[in-house]
Structures are given as structure tokens and as C-alpha cells.
């Protein structure tokens, strides 16, 4: 046992002496959180819209006032007809048009059912979805106010419901995303590079020729990165709670437990890559292109999975980060317990087990 502790101590020395990498390891999560939190936000403010009001009655005016008052929208113009709307869209200046049909108030009051048309520029689908979401939320609010005043089942048709994230706060999406990416980066990239470096430097040769169990060589390499990852995790959570004001609704303990499982998944992936590569560049390239890029694409926090073609949705199932992302959202945002995430956890656990078995089978006690 003394041997392993020496080994692990040595790995920590490697990590702490490489100042530049160390800075990157601990700086990256902070930079990412701040970037996503303040710069790259997809929260929409002051989106330019137009209104086409055929009704010009009390109800339509009230809704327009509400839209005006919200900080999300800035009403550019009031237009006369559909033709003008099309022309304005072509100019590319506006994000959405809100159309009230004639007799809007009448329909609402007498038939208890009215229509509002929201036209969005779908060439940017994410913005379009978000904007129409905001607008229908505002319209729903109006309807609810009406219902409080008069106990009648009014209905305005802009069916879009948003739960858990009513203000569409971006942090809810990207904090779990950044968590999975940082853990992947540290565990897959750093571990595989660290092991392959020993191969490149020739020290692996000497280690193999020693009586030290070669598999433990690899295992002890993973320990410092497990530690670094847990620290990173803590930093991200603290930042998101205290800087971004995003509370952890579920159990912190459960969050750490599942994160540890995901870290082990990522470490096994790193081992697998280091097992099949001989140079640091190759390990880096495979980790980045083979792991990180698909994880960004298929986790769902940058690009909604529901919008993807079915075959790509299937591909997303084999991305461990996707499952972790779902779990983290469930715990952090929805405040759900283990009973709600056991399926996803089982998938992650299965993947880890499989990776570890492959690693043990593939492990070489000799060179090449």
C-alpha cells in the first residue's frame, strides 16, 4: 500500500509542478461560467418586434401595453396589414410580429376563445422559440389576470407552456452543461495525455520492468484528476449559486455522488484513449475530436436534441455527458431525488462498467 501512496504522491507532484496546465485546469471552469453567464447568454433582451392590430380594441391594446412594458421586447412599429409584415421581415430588422385578428376582444369576451398569431423568424430557431415563448407567457399572464377579475374560462390560443424555467434563464441550461464539459476535459484529456506522456518519455518502459503492478500504475494516475475534478465541481457550484444566483434545489450529496460516477466514466474513457495511442498529440486529438466535440453537440445544452433528426438523437444515447446533463438538471433545477434519475444513473453505471472491462481486457503488460 505504501507503494501506491508514493505513486499517487508523485502524480500530484506532476500536476502541481506544471503551473500552466494547473492554471488552465482551475481557471477554465471559472472563465467558462463567467463567459456563459454574462457574455454568451441566450437570454433575450429588447428584441425588436412589430404589432399588427386588426382589432384595435381594449384587449389587444392592453396586451400591447404589456409587451411594451416588458424588458424583453421593444415595439418597432404598428403595421396595417400582412403584406407589410412580410416586407419588414425581409429587411431583417425584427424578430417577431404579433397579429391580433379583428374582433379580438369580442371573441374573448363572448366566445371565451380568441386567437393571437405570433410570427417569428425561424432562420434562427433558438431565438424564435425563446421569443415566442416570452410573448405567449405575457399573453397568458393577461389571460390569468382576466380570469381573476371575472370567473369565466377565457381562452387565448397561443399554446406554449414553460415550466421550471419561466423566465427562460440561461444558467439553468449551461451550468449543468459546463459541468459535464469541464469534467470531461479534465478527466479524459488530462488523464490520457498524462499516461501517454509516460510512454513518450520512456518512463513507462522502466515502470513496466519494475515489479509494480502495471494496472495500478494507471489507476494511480487517475487519482489526482479525480481530486481536481471534485474541486472544479465545487467551484462551479459555488459560482452558480453565489454569482449567477442559481440555487441547488435537490440534494447536494446526491449531486456529488452522481458526479463522482460520471468522473469515473470519464477517467475510464481517458484510460481507453491512452491505451490505444502512443503520442500526446494523438491522445489530445482523439480526446478533443472524439469526445469533447460530440459531447458539446449531443448533450443538449447548446443544441436542443429534440430538434435533431432521429438518427442523431440515437447517437446522443451513447454520449455519457448527455445522461449526466439530464441527471444534473433533474437534481439542481427540478430538485428531484434518486427515484427520478435512477434510469439515467443506471445507464452511466453500465457504460462505466463496460469501459472498465474493456480497459482491463486491453491492458498491456508489455510494449506494443
Amino acid at each position: 500500500m505504501n507503494n501506491i501512496s508514493t505513486f499517487i504522491r508523485k502524480e500530484f507532484l506532476h500536476v502541481f509542478r506544471d503551473r500552466k496546465t494547473l492554471l488552465m485546469l482551475f481557471g477554465l471552469p471559472i472563465v467558462q461560467i463567467i463567459l456563459f453567464g454574462f457574455a454568451l447568454t441566450n437570454e433575450i433582451k429588447n428584441a425588436k418586434i412589430v404589432v399588427c392590430d386588426y382589432a384595435k380594441d381594449a384587449a389587444s391594446q392592453q396586451i400591447i401595453e404589456k409587451l411594451k412594458a416588458s424588458e424583453q421586447f421593444e415595439i418597432q412599429n404598428t403595421l396595417l396589414g400582412h403584406k407589410q409584415i412580410e416586407a419588414t421581415f425581409k429587411e431583417g430588422q425584427i424578430k417577431m410580429a404579433v397579429v391580433f385578428p379583428a374582433n379580438f376582444n369580442n371573441d374573448l369576451l363572448h366566445k371565451n376563445k380568441a386567437q393571437v398569431q405570433l410570427i417569428t423568424d425561424a432562420s434562427d430557431p433558438n431565438t424564435a422559440t425563446t421569443i415566442s415563448g416570452y410573448a405567449s407567457q405575457i399573453i397568458m399572464d393577461y389571460r390569468n389576470e382576466l380570469m381573476l377579475l371575472q370567473d369565466l374560462p377565457y381562452q387565448i390560443n397561443t399554446e406554449m407552456r414553460m415550466i421550471y424555467n419561466p423566465e427562460l434563464k440561461a444558467a439553468v441550461n449551461f451550468v449543468p452543461g459546463v459541468m459535464s464539459l469541464i469534467l470531461l476535459l479534465v478527466c479524459v484529456l488530462m488523464t490520457s495525455v498524462a499516461i501517454v506522456k509516460e510512454k513518450e518519455m520512456g518512463t513507462m518502459e522502466v515502470l513496466l520492468v519494475s515489479p509494480f503492478n502495471p494496472f495500478l500504475v494507471i489507476v494511480s494516475k487517475a487519482v489526482p484528476y479525480l481530486a481536481v475534478s471534485l474541486i472544479n465541481l465545487t467551484v462551479i457550484l459555488l459560482l452558480s449559486v453565489f454569482v449567477l444566483g442559481m440555487p441547488i434545489n435537490g440534494s447536494v450529496l446526491l449531486l456529488y455522488a452522481v458526479s463522482t460516477l460520471f468522473i469515473i466514466t470519464a477517467l475510464s474513457l481517458g484510460l481507453l484513449i491512452s491505451n490505444s495511442t502512443a503520442s500526446q498529440q494523438a491522445a489530445m486529438l482523439i480526446s478533443l475530436m472524439g469526445m469533447l466535440v460530440p459531447s458539446i453537440l449531443f448533450t443538449g445544452f447548446m443544441f436542443p436534441l429534440e430538434n435533431m433528426p432521429y438518427p442523431l438523437q440515437l447517437v446522443s444515447h451513447i454520449i455519457p455527458a448527455k445522461w449526466y446533463y439530464i441527471i444534473v438538471k433533474s437534481i439542481m433545477v427540478k430538485g428531484l431525488g434518486f427515484s427520478a434519475i435512477w434510469k439515467e444513473t443506471l445507464v452511466l453505471f453500465g457504460m462505466t462498467l463496460l469501459l472498465l472491462v474493456v480497459n482491463i481486457k486491453k491492458f498491456k503488460i508489455r510494449l506494443t
Binding site: 507503494n3 505513486f7 518519455m201 518512463t203 522502466v206 513496466l208 520492468v209 515489479p211 508489455r366
Partner: protein, 305 residues
């Protein structure tokens, strides 16, 4: 007692396309300083890796300390010391940390075998807190040797320990090996520098994966088939060309300040004949003298025949 035995060892790479080692057999006696001499790509490293259980041979068998390199690899790993070509050290760890680390993985401590490395370690001691990456080539080489010795191995494998190291450090290194030999450690060392061959007790000359000759350096030199002469004149470049053209000359190679030549015929009058040829070619200050062949002469002879 034979500490290292190789029987008809072969090794190919790229699924048989590259023959790195072909049918190599030799043995190293207990306590012997044995040298494997040959250029890059001759197969030295492959042989070392097979003996240190890092590679599986394609054919033949080999044993170290009586343990088979394939079956009993774990026994061998406990008992041998190995210093690979690129002396493997952790560049970001200090001298002390490197040494302690290697001691621990071999289940020993620096204290336990300090007497064995004492002579070498004393030279490193002033730098013990310096990172290995900041040491000079000679110092790195010494540290790597200490690390390979720390568990008092019975057999020491040193793969090109002096490559890229300057003359002074090379000399010191061979002095260290001699002292280790006196401690009873069997040493197998490889080198591309032919002049280091005479520092070994027995040597194997290796080229293109095959052994050309195995013997003591003295015997290998004694087997050189011709009388060897050293020639020089004021214009060494032209001298070389003229010697190659001379019909009586069998071989002619540049050797530092002189060119080494052999004649087809070892009769005494050849010397006179050559002098006349060279004088005809207007060479000045000609010097022609018999010399003892070096291992390099033998190597060239064996390569060309």
C-alpha cells in the same frame, strides 16, 4: 553460470515486413560486462526489450537469471535493472524524488542499497533538490543509472547509455560500470560507438538484426584477416582517391588522421610498392606504418564480407 541466454531469437515489426532481429543467439556470463555493438537500427533496442520482458519474441527463447522472458516475466521484472535509450526520468521531479520513487516501486528504500550507488550519488548530491529536467546530459545519465541500480539488480541492462553524451562524461560513465562489475553485477550494455567496445569483456557486433561476431575484443581483433597499414600524406582527400584506384589495395577507409589500408597480398614488399605508387602521384610527406586493427576496422571488414 550464465545470467542471460538467447537462443535463436527473432523479432519482426509491421506484421513481418521489418525484420528487426533475426536468429540471434548469445549468452552473458555471471558478473560479465558484455557489450552489444552496432549502429542505430541494428536491433539492439529490440533485443534489450525482449530481455527485459517488454516485447515478445516472434521466435526462439531467452532467459534471464534462469527465468524465461515470456513465462516468468514477473520474476525477471523483480530482479533486473533497466536503463532505456532515452534515460527515463521524470523531468519535473527532483533528483531526490526520482530516486525515492524508483526505490519505492521496487519495494526498497534508498537507504537499504545506498552503498551500491554511493560513488555515483555523491556526484549528484549537490543537485539533489534540482529537477531532473534541469540537469546536464552527464548528470541525467548518472541519475538514471542510480535509479536503475537502486534495488540492487542481479543483471543490469543499459541501452545506449552514452549516446549523445560528450567524451568526458562517456569516460566517467565507463569508469562507473567497471566499479559496478566489481560488485558482482552482470552488465549488458549497448553502444553505437565502436571505440567503447574495448572497454567490455566480451562483445557482440550486430548489424541489420544479425550478429556478425561474438568474442572478446582482443580475439575479434586477432581474427582480422590481413595486415593493416595506416597511411597519411599532405593531401588526405586525394590520397583516399588514389588509394582506392591502386590495384594492390584490397580495402581503404578513412580513419581520423590516417587512412587504413589492407593489401590483397600480405607479402612484405607491398609496402614498398605502395610508396612508389603514391610518390608517382606526387604525394608529399607520405607516412606508411603497420597498425593494430581497431574494432571499427573489424566491424567494417565484417560488414563488407
Amino acid at each position: 553460470m550464465k545470467d542471460v541466454v538467447l537462443n535463436n531469437i527473432s523479432k519482426t515489426y509491421d506484421s513481418g515486413m521489418v525484420q528487426a532481429v533475426s536468429d540471434v543467439s548469445f549468452h552473458v556470463n555471471k558478473g560479465e560486462l558484455f557489450g552489444l555493438i552496432g549502429p542505430d537500427g541494428a536491433g539492439k533496442t529490440s533485443i534489450f526489450r525482449i530481455l527485459t520482458t517488454l516485447l515478445l519474441p516472434d521466435g526462439g527463447s531467452a532467459s534471464v537469471n534462469g527465468s524465461d522472458v515470456v513465462e516468468d516475466y514477473m520474476t525477471i521484472r523483480k530482479n533486473v535493472g533497466y536503463m532505456p535509450g532515452k534515460f527515463s526520468l521524470y523531468q519535473d521531479l527532483t533528483v531526490q524524488e526520482n530516486l525515492n520513487f524508483f526505490a519505492t516501486i521496487f519495494n526498497t528504500s534508498v537507504k537499504e542499497n545506498y552503498d551500491l550507488i554511493k560513488d555515483i550519488y555523491i556526484q549528484l548530491a549537490p543537485f539533489k533538490d534540482r529537477r531532473a529536467g534541469k540537469l546536464s546530459g552527464g548528470m541525467k545519465q548518472k541519475l538514471a543509472l542510480c535509479c536503475a541500480l537502486i534495488h540492487r539488480p542481479t543483471v543490469l541492462f543499459l541501452d545506449e547509455p552514452t549516446t549523445g553524451v560528450d567524451v568526458v562524461s562517456r569516460k566517467e560513465f565507463w569508469e562507473m560500470l567497471k566499479r559496478l562489475k566489481q560488485q558482482g553485477i552482470t552488465i549488458l550494455v549497448s553502444t553505437p560507438y565502436m571505440d567503447e567496445a574495448t572497454l567490455c569483456e566480451r562483445i557482440a557486433l550486430i548489424q541489420n538484426g544479425s550478429i556478425m561476431s561474438i568474442d572478446t575484443p582482443k580475439n575479434i581483433i586477432a581474427q582480422f584477416p590481413n595486415h593493416l597499414f595506416a597511411v597519411r600524406s599532405d593531401n588526405m582527400g586525394n590520397l583516399l582517391k588514389d588509394l582506392r584506384k591502386a590495384k594492390i589495395i584490397k580495402s581503404c577507409n578513412a580513419f581520423g588522421a590516417y587512412h587504413h589500408v589492407t593489401f590483397h597480398d600480405d607479402s612484405p614488399e607491398m609496402k614498398e610498392k605502395l610508396m612508389r605508387v603514391l610518390e608517382e602521384k606526387k604525394h608529399t610527406n607520405i607516412e606508411l606504418k603497420p597498425v593494430t586493427p581497431t574494432i571499427e576496422d573489424c566491424f567494417i571488414y565484417l560488414m563488407e564480407n
